[in-house]
Each structure stands twice: as C-alpha cells, then as structure tokens.
Symmetry: C2
Subunit: 208 residues, 2 copies
C-alpha cells in the first residue's frame, strides 16, 4: 500500500501552492475530521514533503482553525443560496430545517463536533468557532425577524430563538453521528418544537 516514491514536486507560485494546501486541508477534514488535519496527511494528499506544508503554514493550529472556517462558512453560503429564493420566512425556515437535518452534511457535522472538542486546546480555533457560530446565528435570526415582521411568527427575542434552533439542529446531528440506526428521523419531530417556539399552530410548519 506504500505510495510510489515521490520524485519532486513541480515548483508553483506561492499563491497557487498556498491555495492547494488549503484545499487539501479542507478535503482531509471532510474525509477524516479535523483531527486528521496533520502536517503529514496534508502533505501526502498533494504529494509534497511535509516540510513544504510547514513552510506555508508555520502553525498547524492556525491551519486547522482556517480549515474549519472554510468548511463551515461554505456550508452557510450554500444553505443561504438554497433558502434565499423562497417566498416566505416560514418556507425559508422549513427548508432550512429540511436541508440541515437530512443527513447530507454529516461530514460537516463531524467538523463541528470536533471543533467544539478541539477548541479547548486550540485558542485560534475556538475564536473561529465563535465567529462562525455567530454568523449562523445572524443568518437564522434574520429569518426569524422577517417572520415576526410578516406576522408569521410570534416571538419576542429573535436572537435567543436563533440560538435555540441552532442548538437543536446541532444536537440532533451530533447524535446522528453515533446512532446511525434511526438517524433518519432527525427531522421528524422538530416541527412541533419549532411551532411551539414561534407560536405557530400544530402542523403549521409541516406544510412543506
């Protein structure tokens, strides 16, 4: 299983190589989690000497933090695109829950869970985690506030509701990482909970 011996990597511009390393780190993280993002693993993926990665990324903690940020902000952009076009806040919220709980992003969930754990030993990562969590909160809060303004939702603290929603989503996804058996019914019950949070009638959200 040993790799064919590497000859010598083609010389590339710093910008290009740097981007290549960032991409490799992202791929490794999505495949093996943030714990898999090591000097040697990243180097191996682009067939380059470990020292080269160290040359471009003198601090692995920083690379891990940046990789987390890349993955998670891409996820947010993607979900934003998916949801922005929908007509009503209620439809946007329903679609948000749908896509985040359908199991299609379990690789990103691993990154989240490992970031919460790793953040305790990697301050740069912890800061980035807070930053990205806040971006998500802002995004969800926007939907909630639009719903309140449109008279669809009833709540007095949109930020708190946003945190609550994200907590529920992340918790359910984290659980699903371990108990795959019935991980698919993640989204089955959350509807009623959300209805309760937003003063909706029973089933009002499930109309998707």
């Amino acid at each position: 299983m040993s790799r064919p011996p590497r000859k010598k990597a083609a010389r590339k511009s710093p910008a290009e190589r740097s981007a290549e390393i960032a991409d490799a780190a992202r791929d490794v993280a999505l495949e093996h989690g943030l714990y898999g993002v090591t000097l040697r693993a990243v180097a191996a993926r682009i067939d380059v000497a470990p020292a080269l990665v160290a040359h471009y990324e003198p601090d692995m903690h920083a690379l891990v933090a940046a990789t987390f940020g890349t993955i998670v902000s891409a996820e947010l952009d993607e979900v934003d695109d998916l949801v922005a076009a929908l007509p009503s806040p209620r439809a946007r919220l329903a679609a948000l829950l749908d896509t985040l709980l359908d199991g299609s992003r379990d690789d990103v969930t691993v990154v989240w869970v490992e970031a919460w754990a790793l953040g305790r030993r990697n301050e740069a990562l912890a800061a980035r985690v807070r930053e990205e969590m806040d971006a998500w909160r802002t995004f969800v809060q926007g939907i909630v506030e639009a719903g309140i303004a449109a008279g669809e939702f009833e709540a007095d603290d949109a930020a708190s509701v946003a945190w609550q929603l994200l907590g529920m989503i992340d918790g359910l996804n984290a659980h699903a990482l371990v108990r795959w058996e019935d991980a698919d019914d993640r989204g089955s019950r959350i509807g009623h909970a959300v209805e309760g949070m937003l003063g909706l009638g029973r089933g009002a959200l499930a109309a998707r």
Copy 2:
C-alpha cells in the same frame, strides 16, 4: 514544577488498585476531558509508574470507554434521584430541563462531546456511547409516557420525543462550551419548544 521523585508505591490488592485507577481516570476525564485520559496522566495522578496502569488496563481504548460510562451513568443516576420524587410528569420534565441546562455539568458535557468525536476512532467507546444514550432515552421516554398517560402531554411517539429533547439539551450545552458569554440563557427559550412538542399551552411548562 517537576514532581518530587516517586519512591515506590505501596503494594495494594488488585481490587483496590483497580478501583483507584478507575477513579483517577474519572477525575482526569472530568478535569481535562477524555482526551486527557492517557496512560501517563492517570499514572501520575495516583503517583504510580505508567506501566502499572498498563498492567491493570492493557487497552487504553477500553479504559477510556469505561471511564465515559462511569461518568455518564453517574450523571443519569444523579438526575434520576433529583427528579424521581417530584409529583407530576410535568414537574419532573421541568426539573430535568432545569438541572441539565443550568451549566453545573459542563465538565460532563465536555465528556459527551469528546466521546462523539473520539467514538469515530474508538469502537469500544462508540458502543458505550450508544448504550448510555439509550439509557438516557429510556429515562426521558419514561417521563414522557407518564405524562401522556396522565393526560398532561400530547404526543404519539414518546421515544421520538425523548430523542428530540436530548438532542436539544446536548446541542445547547455543547454550544455553551464555546460561547460562554451568554451561555446562561441556555434554558430560557427551550420551554416554548417543549410545549410545542408536547401539545402544551404557551407557558404551561414555565410554571416552575
């Protein structure tokens, strides 16, 4: 900061030493997380040669898994005791949410989060995590079923509701690990969500 050189540990019975090691592993896990439960860290805590820990625990993966089980099942017992005496299912559920979301068990939350992450590389741990999650689900499900039977709650799948509740709780607690700033309002909004899940009127649960 180096420890005074250890002379020689008193000879103890296998049962006693074994228990001492298990206790040390538990303490280390609660202080530094499951990732801190290493051969050397456990040995250092009871001032013993690392090889002795290895003698009693030939497989560190197993010790980590067992330590997780010890901590988490103790938590469940504790919460059970705290809640069992209460008169109504609604009161029991309210107290359950209260105690699990008041931040007094953040050290256990770290253990949970790290277990979800570590479980992907430690099969014994993953099995134990599933086991303990199921014990918690059974416990919460019991409260929910009692509430349904008593006519206090309205839900058609108590198991699903239990998973949902646990997911919410774990997610909110995991978030609080990182954003300490306003981690104290964890429990502020969950009430309405739970009311929605259980068909309660607005504020019906908050009467605690």
